[in-house]
């Protein structure tokens, strides 16, 4: 999957961004007297009114626990909750709702796999293969598992432009490799990994692949069957849905074979003090009362994104990336970090003599919200020998005028500190 594959054909209708912006109530405000320019979407995106309304409606009209009662509200809540599962299934083109497990977020989805599949299949002397651009949430769960099992974490490193050295990846794949865990899109650099190729290589050796799709789902159409990956983890809050909800897609045969993770209510069929029989998929992995309203809100976010159309979103964001990349060259001393040919709309950079925190503070005074720091990807920072970057990350509601505001703010930061 790459950005170019998701670009629409010539003549496809462009996004009516002004209309879309009106869907996001939070955008219509000023910060320090300036219009809010929200460019921290890779950290978390804002929510359209339809998502906010869906959550509100749950609590005002039909809230009750799911999968429990015979009363009307519980049945309505269950229908809406399971309806959201169906929406998510179609959104990523999974073959069955049984393959869609709701979690707290990408981090929990990955930990679930590490602690069930990983615990059972990774042993002493085995290896888990990741890449140099992973978020901490796709490093630490594997480190924990490897430490416990006497296994080894292997890393395919990055080329200077921020793309994964695929020759290294191929060389590291071996009979010892028990799992490959890779990001679809890098949160710190924007690099889009060649996931399909990675899956092909891994499967050729019989190795399953987990894809951290947190940064992919809001920006490009994801088809888990076309990718042929075995697990795909993502979060609701980065795709215009509520925070506190995530998804783990898992290939059914693998999920069936995996032991349960957390024990509790909802994940059981029958419990006696002698023995518990676990529930069927996906409930086996959903112990306890879930984030009911959040899941239903995620369903509304899926509806929203699908109605806008991911191909058009990708084209719009690509246009912003090209424009922002071009305009960033005007800023004295600015150096982009991450210039891979296949990139999502993330602009990570350093400016000579300026610390990202100072840049972030000056930009905030211009109403521009960006992320500054290591982006939970310290190995990426280490790779480039920098402690931190400033990162502007775009969403479907951003505009070229907002890129202009960013660049104005950067000029001002340079002036302040030179």
């Amino acid at each position: 999957m790459s950005l170019s594959e998701t670009r629409p054909a010539e003549g496809a209708a462009r996004l009516d961004v002004a209309a879309l912006r009106a869907d996001f109530p939070i955008l219509a405000q000023t910060i320090h007297g300036k219009p809010l320019v929200y460019l921290d979407n890779a950290a978390s995106s804002q929510k359209p009114a339809s998502v906010i309304e869906a959550e509100r409606e749950v609590y005002e009209a039909y809230y009750a626990n799911v999968h429990r009662g015979v009363h009307t509200l519980s049945m309505r809540a269950t229908d809406a909750y399971e309806g959201a599962r169906g929406k998510v299934q179609r959104f990523v083109n999974a073959s069955s709702v049984k393959e869609i497990v709701f979690t707290r977020g990408t981090t929990e989805s990955i930990n679930l796999v590490a602690q069930t599949y990983g615990r059972r299949n990774v042993g002493p002397g085995d290896e888990v293969l990741v890449t140099g651009l992973e978020h901490h949430s796709n490093i630490v769960p594997w480190q924990l598992r490897c430490e416990e099992k006497g296994a080894r974490l292997r890393v395919a490193t990055l080329a200077d432009d921020g793309s994964v050295r695929m020759d290294e990846f191929d060389a590291l794949l071996s009979p010892r490799t028990k799992l490959v865990a890779v990001a679809h899109v890098s949160n710190a650099l924007g690099t889009v990994n060649p996931v399909r190729r990675i899956v092909e290589r891994a499967h050729a050796q019989g190795v399953p692949v987990l894809v951290d799709g947190a940064q992919a789902v809001p920006h490009l159409a994801v088809d888990v069957r076309a990718l042929d990956c075995d697990f795909f983890a993502f979060s609701s809050h980065k795709m215009y849905g509520p925070s506190g909800v995530g998804v783990l897609y898992g290939r059914r045969e693998l999920l069936e074979a995996m032991p349960p993770w957390q024990g509790g209510g909802d994940m059981i069929l029958s419990v006696t003090f002698a023995k518990t029989t676990y529930n069927e998929l996906p409930y086996k992995f959903e112990a306890g009362t879930p984030h009911i309203a959040g899941v239903i809100g995620l369903g509304a976010a899926v509806d929203y994104l699908s109605a806008v159309g991911l191909a058009r979103v990708a084209a719009h964001e690509h246009d912003l990336l090209v424009y922002a990349t071009e305009r960033s060259r005007e800023v004295r001393g600015l150096r982009l970090v991450g210039t891979a040919p296949e990139k999502a709309a993330v602009l990570s950079f350093v400016i000579e003599g300026l610390h990202p925190h100072d840049i972030g503070t000056v930009l905030d005074y211009e109403g521009v919200a960006v992320r500054t720091g290591h982006h939970c990807a310290q190995p990426v920072m280490e790779r480039y020998g920098i402690p931190a970057t400033t990162r502007a990350s775009f969403a479907l509601y951003n505009t070229r005028e907002e890129v202009d505001a960013l660049v104005r703010g950067l000029h001002q930061a340079v002036e302040t500190f030179s």
Binding site: H355, P356, H357, D358, T361, Q378, P387, T416
Partner: protein, 166 residues
Amino acid sequence: MSELRELYQELILDHTKKPRNFGELPGANRQAEGYNPLCGDRATVFLKLEGDRVADVRFQGAGCSISTASASMMTESVKGKTRGDVEALFDRFHRLITGDPARAALNAAPELGKLAVFSGVCEFPVRVKCAALAWHTLRAALAGEDRPVSTEVSESSSGDADGKAR
């Protein structure tokens, strides 16, 4: 913009660009490292302690303008002071940057001297840790702690100001 100018005063920018007492200190008998895990800022403080008195102090590290200027100006203000003086000064400084309600009186205290330029920091709660990093590190060096200090620990265990600092 006025709050921004208040934060980035000329004196702070000057110390950012030309940090004083920067680099290793030959003959140092105390040393500590500080780390701000949220932004990756690091500071090493070198001390030459003679009895109870800071005979000399230098620092090294990489950080934002606030943390660099704070470290630089700290070295100037604590040189020659006793441990007790340093503690009292830190207390005042910390109240200043966290916006302690009693700061108005402290602001006027002559002991704070040039450090008063950091008064703008309290308007920027997320930057308190930047200004405090070098100080926490200095105190660790004075206490002879050999574990690196982290602003996460220091700024969350030092009382009521921390809600703002986080």
